[in-house]
């Protein structure tokens, strides 16, 4: 059957446009230089070295942060140990819970400042840091605060004891939210922590450290050490650490897993992904298009559970791709602090180069690339929303995690084929299914081997829902009841 020729594209450029609506930065306080947060105080690093953290939208430095080396990490772990042995693990759980509640409220009270700093330091649009990152971070603290005195009900019939000192290493894509995922359950369960934020986004963790002081937590319960990979390695390999929690790349996750073998340390790893977003012909097409956009362009595609592979049923592929291209034209790329920005800056030059290398790989593999026509600022690191068509399972841009606003589109004919393609990947962090048929939703969501599978939506997070991966996407679960397990010593 001939499809009717699709009429000329709609005109979105020009006409009535939105005036700039920048979020005010007047209420934001950022120090010129930050020390390490150890034992309840900001201290100088042992070697006295500092490094700048840049605003990816301007390439300008925002502040200097301390570079933690082995002696600093050792000092932080000792402080955490002392706090664990001392007040924290022996405190009545209900009192511990009050501290965690206090942290949740402080995040809420400072949410405006935290949101602006998150966008300045990381490049994400203020709409997302304001509406998603910061509220969710507070929600995690509220949720786990509630568990603090109810752990015996979480694991009936078993005795749940605090675990010890947790060494936590978090990524740059959701800085404060990942901190919340790590610190909230640890504190609620009676553990103490040494956390290393990513070197490109340390600022909200340091602002959180100020909140820890203001909340009056016993010194050493929360310690923040800043630095790059070497600092992280020092923390992970420190013999005084009982448990390692890492979120980041699969490559680094494997190194950590190797280094932990035989040490007896517990660990949870939340690693990469290459999620399939599977759109059936009977889906609500316009809402599926929104879900595809949200799945891959949320946070510039710097999302481990991003829906970076679109699998669309062949009979609607042309329609879906046309609509997707039109929708991409309406996405506003630019100043992360503008309230109307949909897509902000790429987090770092290194990440931008990695994304660009994948665009070249895609073109060299013979795929067809389409980018939205939007203007991007001259300074800063930017990538237009991008999609590739004409690709198959054997393309590298289909197999490997790009971690940018780049979507690879493939088609499928039958449900079996769609499911097989969805699962034909070394990753298994997330997935999406779009169909109006309830039975198909259940078959597909049971069939996709991934830690979280969304039906008729994508990238939805909640503190009550466990999150984690299959295969090379990691091990262990964070969030929900399952997330408590990782920070408790449960007797058999």
């Amino acid at each position: 059957m001939d499809r009717p020729a699709r009429a000329s594209a709609l005109a979105f450029e020009g006409g009535w446009t939105y005036s700039p609506a920048p979020e005010s930065t007047e209420h934001v306080r950022i120090d010129e230089r930050y020390g390490l947060f150890i034992g309840g105080e900001f201290v100088r690093p042992a070697e006295g070295r500092y490094f700048p953290t840049l605003n990816p939208a301007t390439e300008e430095p925002i502040a200097e942060v301390a570079l933690a080396t082995d002696p600093d990490v050792d000092r932080a772990v000792r402080a955490a140990r002392a706090a664990f042995e001392g007040p924290w693990s022996r405190m009545k759980p209900i009192e511990r819970g009050k501290y965690v509640y206090r942290l949740a409220r402080l995040i809420q009270e400072r949410s405006r400042e935290l949101a602006v700093i998150e966008s300045l330091d990381g490049g994400k649009p203020i709409r997302e840091s304001r509406d998603i990152d910061i509220p969710l971070a507070a929600a995690h603290f509220f949720y786990y605060a509630g568990w603090a005195d109810k752990l015996e009900y979480a694991f009936p019939g078993r005795r749940a004891a605090p675990l010890g000192v947790a060494g936590q290493v978090i990524p740059w894509n959701f800085p404060l939210l990942m901190l919340a995922w790590k610190i909230a359950p640890a504190l609620a369960c009676g553990s103490t922590v040494v956390l290393k934020p990513a070197e490109t986004t340390p600022l909200t963790a340091l602002k959180f450290a100020e909140a820890v002081q203001d909340a009056g937590l016993p010194p050493g319960v929360v310690n923040i050490v800043t630095g790059a990979g070497e600092t992280g390695a020092a923390l992970v390999n420190h013999p005084g650490v009982d448990k390692v929690a890492f979120t980041g790349s699969t490559e680094v996750g494997k190194i950590i897993q190797r280094s932990l073998a035989g040490t007896g340390k517990r660990y949870t790893l939340e690693l990469g992904g290459k999620a399939a977003n599977v759109v059936f012909a009977d889906a609500a097409i316009d809402q599926a298009v929104e879900g595809i956009v949200n799945g891959i362009f949320f946070n510039q595609g710097h999302v481990c559970c991003a829906g970076s592979r679109l699998l669309v049923q062949e009979s609607v592929a042309e329609e879906v791709i046309d609509k997707l291209k039109a929708r991409m034209e309406t996405l506003i790329v630019g100043d992360p602090l503008d309230k109307n920005t949909d897509i902000g800056a790429i987090n770092s030059q290194a990440q931008l180069e990695k994304i660009r290398s994948y665009l070249e790989i895609g073109l060299a593999e013979g795929a067809e690339m389409h980018q939205s026509s939007c203007p991007v600022p001259e300074r800063g690191w930017w990538c237009r929303p991008t999609l590739f068509t004409g690709v198959s399972q054997s393309n590298r841009i289909v197999q490997e995690e790009i971690f940018g606003p780049v979507l690879a589109i493939q088609t499928f004919r039958t449900e079996e084929e769609g499911l097989a393609k969805a699962n034909n990947t070394p990753y298994g962090l997330s997935g999406g299914v779009w169909t109006d048929k309830g039975a198909k939703v259940f078959r597909m969501t049971r069939g996709i081997r991934a830690g979280v599978v969304w039906a008729n939506t994508f990238n939805k997070f909640d503190p009550t829902a466990p999150f984690g991966g299959y295969k090379e996407s990691g091990m262990g679960r964070e969030g929900g009841l399952h997330g408590l397990d990782a920070y408790l010593d449960l007797d058999a």
């Binding site: 009429a7 316009d286 929104e290």
Partner: protein, 304 residues
């Protein structure tokens, strides 16, 4: 007139609508921040898109003449403002409005087809339409037979729209779906497709006599149906949300949605209207606020 003779499309093949997804998309429109020049431009555009409406049993020639005066002179103390797009009345008052508006360029829209219920025999509806056009109506706002639609008799609804289109003799036909009585966004989408294929020049949400009247989600679904119909046929159908749009902020949300769904070509009174009775004064108040920095009392704006 070619479109009017097109066939009833297969409504079962019309894409489904997911209400949760629609609500999420709408939330994005309402979180756009419209400030400064773009706000003033939007407010003026809203004024130019208003169908100033009075549809009451107590309407009189005097009331309609006053409304027409307002339509032509929204707020003369502030020069450079546009006039509204049309005045919308019952058929018996079309002639009054037509005379009052003269050569102002403001159109006269008449409701017809046993507005608002549509519960009359088809020949009565056809006759009423012809009378309204005979009195000088430039635009006809008809209602669909919701009963027939809900009973699944799509062919009857289709034929009736086509018949009214013919009776309207070239007057612009706006087809009111009365979405508040359709019960689901899936049906809104199907009714939109049906009405466009039957010859609608505009599709319109509501009579204003049923709650809920126009909402952002319902309007989004209709705009998406318009976009797909345009992609298929090349014909540009207009959109008119009506009822419940009483303030400038909400009207601007509609414009954001229009801009991001259909693009610039629809950002004109020829393709988008607000059916409203009290919207204009709030918009005027906001324009004064933008230009002077102060809010003024409602008594500084004429109410007709």
């Amino acid at each position: 007139m070619l479109a009017a003779r097109s066939r009833l499309p297969d409504l079962a093949a019309v894409t489904r609508v997911d209400e949760v997804g629609v609500a999420e998309r709408v939330a994005r429109f309402t979180s756009r921040s419209i400030k400064k020049e773009s706000k003033v431009e939007a407010l003026k555009m809203v004024l130019s898109m208003i169908d100033l409406t009075t549809l009451e049993g107590q309407d009189t020639p005097g009331k309609v003449r006053q409304l027409c005066q307002k339509a032509m002179h929204l707020h003369d103390r502030r020069p450079g403002l546009p006039h509204v797009a049309a005045v919308c009345v019952y058929p018996t008052l079309v002639a009054v409005a037509k005379r009052a508006l003269g050569d102002s360029g403001i159109k006269v829209a008449s409701v017809a087809t046993a507005f608002p219920s549509g519960m009359a025999p088809r020949r009565v509806k056809i006759e009423e339409t012809k009378i309204a056009v005979g009195e000088g109506a430039d635009e006809i706002d008809m209602v669909i037979s919701r009963g027939a639609f809900l009973a699944g008799d799509y062919a009857a609804v289709f034929d009736e729209i086509a018949a009214i289109k013919e009776a309207a003799q070239g007057a612009h036909l706006k087809v009111i779906l009365e979405t508040g009585e359709l019960g689901s966004l899936d049906r809104v989408r199907r009714a939109s497709v049906l009405a466009m294929h039957a010859g609608a020049d505009f599709i319109k949400t509501s009579t204003g006599k049923v709650q809920p009247a126009a909402t952002l989600p319902v309007t989004l679904v209709m705009l998406q149906a318009i976009r797909d119909y345009h992609a298929e046929t090349g014909r540009m159908v207009g959109m008119k949300p009506a009822g419940g749009i009483a303030n400038a902020k909400l009207a601007i949300h509609y414009l954001v949605m229009l801009k991001e769904t259909l693009g610039n070509a629809w950002m004109t009174p020829d393709r988008f209207r607000f059916g409203a009775s009290s919207l204009a004064n709030d918009v005027l108040m906001q324009i004064e606020k933008q230009l002077t920095g102060r809010y003024q009392s409602a008594d500084y704006f004429s109410r007709d």
